[in-house]
Symmetry: C2
Subunit: 183 residues, 2 copies
């Protein structure tokens, strides 16, 4: 049933899965749902991908933990059906939020913890280095938070601004544009 093209896409997502912090199975299941116009139930997925029923169940559970799929019910049918959101930007927002939660927030928390409990005076270099790292993460996540507040329409407009943005950055901190000094 799935076309050649769909099949390749699904396999690609499977291969990339490990680089994205999910596994092959989960990547393939997600890809299949992503391309499917109608909601799929677990057995549809078993049939399409030839994984064991329990593996599919685990995979779906993980996708739900990532908030990447929605559970749906059809009238007069007890089975669970799943879809991915139609809105691509909603998908990417979720993805980024979840990755931040898993990959960045724990480190930020840990850095703050360590800085708090650090015995005064000692360990100067390392402590300073951690502080710089923390500040950098705070700057980036602060920026992310701002962007993420925007409605999609505005967010897309901002992303598409391109070089206009770099001009604004030139005037951000100083009145005159920054220049290479000639000596």
């Amino acid at each position: 049933m799935p076309s050649q093209i769909q099949q390749e896409f699904v396999l690609h997502f499977g291969e990339m899965g490990s680089r994205w912090g999910i596994n092959r199975t989960v990547g393939q299941i997600y890809a299949l749902l992503f391309l499917s116009e109608r909601p799929l139930c677990a057995d549809d997925i078993v049939e399409a991908l030839r994984f064991s029923r329990s593996n599919v169940s685990m995979g779906l559970k993980e996708l739900q933990a990532w908030n990447l799929v929605r559970l749906r019910h059809l009238p007069d049918d007890r089975r669970d059906f799943f879809t991915t959101p139609d809105d691509m930007w909603a998908i990417v927002r979720t993805l980024i939020a979840e990755r931040k939660k898993r990959e960045i927030d724990p480190t930020l928390t840990k850095l703050r913890e360590l800085e708090m409990q650090s015995p005064e005076g000692s360990d100067d270099y390392a402590l300073n280095r951690m502080g710089e790292l923390r500040e950098m993460i705070e700057a980036m996540t602060g920026f992310y938070d701002e962007m993420n507040k925007l409605e999609t329409e505005r967010l897309v407009a901002l992303l598409k601004m391109g070089s206009k943005l770099t001009k604004i950055a030139g005037t951000a901190g100083r009145v005159l544009p920054l220049r290479k000094s000639k000596g």
Copy 2:
């Protein structure tokens, strides 16, 4: 030799390593180098972390593949010494560039391939979905490219602009700010 604080930081990076697409060993080695004021050679790392010499060698090789460490030589010493760059923003730029290369570029390439080779007419929904995904990735990577062109000083200024940026976004596509229509 490493303080309690350093030790905890190193262990944390080890644990996070798997979420970041490197492994525990590599995460710990990186953390150790990151906190170290002076360059370290492989045997320093073996001593600090108690990994086998060959494991350290592999780990350093992987960090070099990621461009995350610099190889240094001290006068009258044939050993290889390693450091991380002093500049935190240089580090994060490298990290993002490498992750993009591994996690995003291959998918963008694959999507373009599949769209090219797609037989005309058929497979409407899936093809459209892939097209939307590709466009979204292109918008995001285009924005990233713009940001990445900025000198660090300007980049930091831009990140710190905070809510000013969202105001600009409001005027980007339209003359008047976007409003909820009342009916």
